[in-house]
C-alpha cells in the first residue's frame, strides 16, 4: 500500500531524517516509536505535505502509494491522494462550530445545486452538515452540539473533532496520527484505540506515532523505532518486548527521577486566601493554600477542576478575587510584570503559544525575560540612557545553557518553532532559570514530551529546588510524576482545595480525592 524509500530531510546542516525505509500493507496499523527529536513528527509532516517541509527545502527520497511513485507538495495534494492526518495539536479552527470544522472542504450541499453553481458556489445544506458531524462523532460515542464553537470545548474534545473530521472522509486511505493521545485521558484514549481498530478493519492503513509503549502493545501490528532520524529497529506483533523497544528508542535504559519528600514545616512564602480565578473552563473558587519556602508543591485535579488556573491566577493573567500575600504582604499591583518583579515566574502549559517566541532564535528566547524584566544582558550606550543587548554575553550564556540543558538544536540562532516539543520545553526552562525566580510555577511540564526528555526535565526541577532553593509549584495531571518529585500534593475538586496529601499516599486515595469521593482531610 505505502512504501517509503530512503526518505531524508535536512534542516540546515542537521539531518532530521536519514534514509528511512518503511513498508506498510493495506489495513495495517503500523506504530512509529521514538523519543523527542527522533524525527517521527518530521516523517509524518513529509507524508502530509506540511508547508514547513517545503519552506525548509523539501525532502529527499521516494514515496510509493499503491504502486505509484508520488511527490507530496502540500496538504492539499496529500489529501487528494487519500492521506489524512490527526495532529498533535488539533488543526481545528476555534471560532468555527463543531459541524463546520468536521465537514470543512466537503460540506454537504443541496441536491443538484453543485451542477448549477459549481463546487465552490453550491449552497451548503446546514441540516445535513450537522447530521454528518453528529454521525462522525457518534462513531466513537461522543455527543457534541454541532452548533457549539470548537474553541469553547476542552482540548480533548477538539482532538475528537479532528479525528471525526478525518475518519468521516470516504476517500481516506492512509491515516497519520501524531501522538493523538497526548491530550486525552485514559478512557478517551481507549475509545480512540477501539475506533482505530475498526477503521483498520475497513481497510484504512494507519501510521501511529507515539511514545507510549502501552498503546503500541494494544494497537499495532508492526512497529518501527526511530532514533536520531534513522530506523533503529523493527518489531513484529509477536516480537514486541518492552525492554527491547525502550532500548531501541533511547539506546540505553531510563533511570526514573525521584526525590525524597521533605515534610518539615517551613515559613510560608506565598499565601492564597479565599482566592478565586475566573479562567474559562478552569476556574477556582475560594482557594486557601499556603506555599512554603523551598518546597515542591504539586497541584493536581481532573481537567476542568482548576489545577491549571492557579498559576495564571497568581501571575495576574485572569481576573481574580480574594487575597494573595507574598511573604506576608499584599502586593499593590496584581499584574504579571509586578509579579515577575517580586520573584515569581511561570511556565505555561501552552508553551508554543504563550511560552515561547516561535520565530525567534534559541538564544533570544532564553534571555528574553531576563533582558526585558530584569534588565540584564544589556550594554549601556555611552552618554545616553539607551541600552543595547550585549550580544557577546548573550551568546556565551546561551551556549552554556544549550550545553547544560542538552538542548538539541543546530545552533543558538535556530528558530524555536523548528525544535521538537521536549527541546522547546528545555528552552522554556532555561529561560525560567535565567530569571532565578524565588517561586517558579509550572503547568503541565511534561505534556507532549517523551520518556527520556521527561526524566531530564524532572531532574532539572529537582536540581533547581535542592541547589538553588527555588520554590516550585507544579500543576500537572501526571500523578505518577508529581508523586515522584513533590513534597506535598494539593488536590483540587470543583475549583476548591479538596486535600493536601503526602506523595507516598496510595494512588487509590489520590484518585478518590480527585473525584471528590473521599472524606475531607
Amino acid at each position: 500500500m505505502l512504501q517509503l524509500k530512503n526518505i531524508s530531510k535536512r534542516f540546515g546542516r542537521h539531518f532530521a531524517l536519514h534514509s528511512v525505509n518503511l513498508k506498510v500493507e493495506r489495513g495495517e496499523i503500523h506504530g512509529i516509536a521514538g523519543i523527542n527529536g527522533s524525527g517521527k513528527s518530521t516523517l509524518l509532516n513529509i507524508l502530509f505535505g506540511n508547508p514547513l517541509i517545503a519552506e525548509t527545502g523539501g525532502y529527499g527520497g521516494e514515496i510509493i502509494l499503491q504502486g505509484k511513485s508520488r511527490r507530496i507538495k502540500s496538504p492539499q495534494s496529500a489529501i487528494a491522494m487519500g492521506f489524512g492526518m490527526v495532529h498533535q495539536e488539533p488543526a481545528v479552527v476555534h471560532e468555527m462550530t463543531v459541524a463546520e470544522n468536521i465537514t470543512i472542504t466537503r460540506e454537504p450541499v443541496f441536491p443538484h445545486s453543485e451542477k448549477y453553481f459549481g463546487r465552490d458556489f453550491a449552497p451548503i445544506d446546514n441540516r445535513k452538515s450537522h447530521k454528518k458531524a453528529q454521525e462522525a462523532l457518534g462513531m466513537f460515542g461522543v455527543a457534541l452540539a454541532p452548533r457549539c464553537l470548537a474553541g469553547q470545548l476542552p482540548l480533548n474534545m477538539r482532538q475528537f473533532i479532528e479525528i471525526a473530521r478525518e475518519i468521516s472522509r470516504d476517500d481516506l486511505k492512509v491515516l497519520l496520527l501524531d501522538e493523538p493521545t497526548a491530550v486525552l485521558n485514559g478512557s478517551d484514549s481507549a475509545l480512540l484505540l477501539r475506533t482505530l481498530k475498526n477503521l483498520a478493519r475497513k481497510g484504512v492503513t494507519i501510521l501511529y506515532v507515539s511514545h507510549r509503549l502501552d498503546e503500541f502493545f494494544a494497537l499495532c501490528d508492526n512497529l518501527t523505532v526511530l532514533r536520531n532520524g534513522a530506523v533503529s529497529g523493527h518489531f513484529q506483533r509477536d516480537g514486541f518486548s518492552r525492554k527491547a523497544i525502550t532500548k531501541c528508542m533511547i539506546g540505553g535504559s531510563v533511570i526514573l527521577s525521584r526525590k525524597k519528600a521533605n515534610l518539615t514545616c517551613r515559613e510560608t512564602i506565598l499565601s492564597l486566601q479565599k482566592f478565586s480565578v475566573s479562567m474559562p473552563g478552569e476556574s477556582i473558587e475560594d482557594l486557601d493554600l499556603d506555599i512554603q519556602k523551598g518546597e515542591i508543591l504539586g497541584i493536581t485535579s481532573l481537567s476542568g477542576h482548576g489545577k491549571m488556573a492557579v498559576g495564571p491566577g497568581i501571575m495576574g493573567l485572569y481576573p481574580v478575587l480574594g487575597k494573595m500575600l507574598i511573604k506576608g504582604r499584599q502586593a499593590e499591583r496584581h499584574d504579571t510584570a509586578a509579579m515577575i518583579g517580586k520573584g515569581l515566574f511561570m511556565l505555561p502549559e501552552d508553551r508554543r503559544q504563550l511560552g515561547l517566541l516561535q520565530d525567534h532564535g534559541v538564544a533570544e528566547n532564553i534571555v528574553f525575560s531576563a533582558m526585558h524584566c530584569a534588565h540584564r544582558f544589556l550594554r549601556r550606550f555611552p552618554c545616553l540612557p539607551l541600552h543595547f543587548p550585549d550580544k557577546k554575553q548573550i551568546n556565551r550564556y546561551a551556549l552554556e545553557c544549550v550545553a547544560a540543558f542538552a538542548i538539541s538544536c543546530t545552533g543558538i540562532a535556530q528558530k524555536v518553532r523548528e525544535l521538537s516539543g521536549g527541546n522547546q520545553q528545555k528552552v522554556c526552562l532555561a529561560k525560567a532559570m535565567t530569571m532565578e525566580p524565588e517561586i517558579l510555577i509550572v503547568n503541565e511540564p511534561t505534556r507532549g514530551i517523551d520518556l527520556g526528555a521527561k526524566e531530564r526535565i524532572l531532574d532539572m526541577f529537582i536540581a533547581m529546588n535542592t541547589t538553588k532553593g527555588t520554590t516550585l509549584v507544579i500543576a500537572s495531571g501526571e500523578l505518577d510524576e508529581l508523586r515522584r518529585i513533590c513534597d506535598r500534593i494539593a488536590v483540587l475538586y470543583k475549583g476548591r482545595l479538596f486535600a493536601i496529601l503526602a506523595p507516598d499516599t496510595a494512588e487509590s486515595v489520590f484518585i478518590q480525592a480527585m473525584s471528590g469521593e473521599m472524606a475531607k482531610v
Binding site: S74, P75, I124
Partner: protein, 342 residues
C-alpha cells in the same frame, strides 16, 4: 446584530444631535439617506468578503470602481445608451475587474499581514495609471469615436461627461411615493439582492473556506484548503462587486467625473461598514446595510450642522472628511480595545 455595538451607538447619537443642530426636515434626510443607500450599498457589501477572509478592509475596491468607469467611458465613446449601454458597461466592467481582481489578489499573497496598507497603495497606483490613460492615451494611442467627450485640444477626455443616456434609468423603475418620501423600490430590491448574494456566498464551500483562512491560515492549510487561491478568489469577488456598485452609483448621479468620481469610494465605504459595527476581522450583511444608513445620516446632516454651529460653510464641508476619516480611526481604536478586553 443582537445588540447595538458601541461604534454604531455613537453614530446613532451623533446623527440625532446633528439632525437637531442642522434643523433639516426629517423627511428630507430620509430621502437623502435612501438615495445614498442605493448609491453606496453595493460598494459597502463588496468589503464583507475580504474582511471575512482575514484580509482586512479592501481599499482596492477603487480599482473595481475604475473598471466601471472604463466601461462607462467606452459606452459613451461608442454612443451606446439605455439598457444596451448598461449591459455593455457591465460586461466590460466585470470582465476587467475579474482580471484586475486576480492581479491584486496575487499581489496581496506576497504581502500577507499587511493587506490593508497594500490595498491603499494599489488604489493610488491604479488611479495614476487610470488617469494617465484617459488624460494622455485618449486621442493619441486610442482613437476616440465621440468628439463631444474630448478636450478641445484633441487629447484627453473632458473632466465631466454627461451621462444623459443612462441617468436614472434604473431609479425610476417602481418608484413609489409615501407622503414626501420617495421610495425607489427596484433599486432597494437590487441592493438587497446583492446583499443576498453576498450572504449566500458566505454559506457556500468557498465561504466556509474563506472564513477558515481568515481565522487561522495555518490550520486552514492543514485541512487541505488552498489558502492563497481562496484569498485571490475573495479579492476577485470583492472587485467585481465594487464594479457593480460603482455602475449603480454613477447611473444614479448621472454625471461622470472622469478623473475623480472613484476617489473617495473606498474611504466612505470602509467608514460605513465600520459604523455598522463590523470589525476588521468580522463583518456581516447587517453591518454593511446598517452602516450605510448610519454613516450617511451623519454625512448628510453634518455639513449643515457645522455651518449652523460655527457659521462657516467651509467648516461644514470640512466636517465630511472629518466624519469619514474619524470613523475609521475611531472604529479601529475601539476594536483594539475590545480585542484587548477579550
Amino acid at each position: 446584530m443582537r445588540h447595538l455595538n458601541p461604534v454604531s451607538a455613537v453614530f446613532l447619537l451623533l446623527s440625532l444631535v446633528g439632525l437637531l443642530l442642522s434643523g433639516m426636515r426629517p423627511t428630507f434626510v430620509v430621502n437623502e439617506v435612501l438615495i445614498r443607500f442605493i448609491r453606496d450599498g453595493v460598494m459597502v457589501l463588496a468589503l464583507i468578503i475580504p474582511i471575512n477572509a482575514g484580509m482586512g478592509l479592501n481599499f482596492a475596491i477603487v480599482v473595481g470602481a475604475m473598471c466601471a468607469q472604463v466601461g462607462l467611458v467606452l459606452a459613451v465613446d461608442l454612443q451606446l445608451t439605455g439598457f444596451t449601454g448598461l449591459l455593455f458597461i457591465s460586461v466590460i466592467g466585470i470582465g476587467l475587474s475579474l482580471l484586475l481582481g486576480a492581479l491584486i489578489g496575487l499581489c496581496l499573497n506576497r504581502v500577507k499581514g499587511k493587506e490593508m496598507i497594500s490595498t491603499i497603495i494599489i488604489g493610488f497606483l491604479a488611479t495614476s495609471i487610470y488617469q494617465l490613460i484617459f488624460m494622455v492615451g485618449y486621442g493619441t494611442i486610442i482613437h476616440p469615436h465621440n468628439p463631444e467627450m474630448m478636450l478641445s485640444r484633441g487629447i484627453g477626455i473632458r473632466n465631466m461627461i454627461d451621462l444623459q443616456g443612462f441617468r436614472n434609468i434604473l431609479d425610476k423603475l417602481w418608484l413609489f411615493r409615501l407622503g414626501e418620501i420617495e421610495i425607489p423600490l427596484f433599486m432597494i430590491l437590487l441592493v438587497l439582492i446583492f446583499a443576498g448574494i453576498v450572504h449566500s456566498i458566505m454559506n457556500t464551500r468557498l465561504g466556509r473556506q474563506l472564513v477558515a483562512v481568515g481565522l487561522d491560515g495555518r490550520k486552514a492549510a492543514m485541512v487541505g484548503i488552498d489558502t492563497e487561491g481562496v484569498r485571490v478568489k475573495a479579492i476577485i469577488l470583492s472587485t467585481v462587486l465594487a464594479c457593480c456598485g460603482h455602475i449603480i452609483y454613477i447611473e444614479n448621479i448621472g454625471m461622470l467625473n472622469v478623473y475623480t468620481a472613484h476617489l473617495n469610494s473606498d474611504i466612505f465605504s470602509c467608514a460605513a461598514i465600520l459604523a455598522g459595527g463590523a470589525t476588521i476581522f468580522r463583518a456581516g450583511i447587517a453591518n454593511a446595510l446598517l452602516g450605510v444608513l448610519l454613516f450617511h445620516s451623519l454625512f448628510i446632516v453634518s455639513p449643515q450642522a457645522g455651518q449652523n454651529v460655527f457659521g462657516n460653510p467651509a467648516l461644514g464641508e470640512y466636517f465630511r472628511s472629518f466624519v469619514a476619516y474619524g470613523t475609521i480611526a475611531f472604529a479601529l481604536m475601539m476594536q483594539r480595545q475590545a480585542a484587548d478586553r477579550n
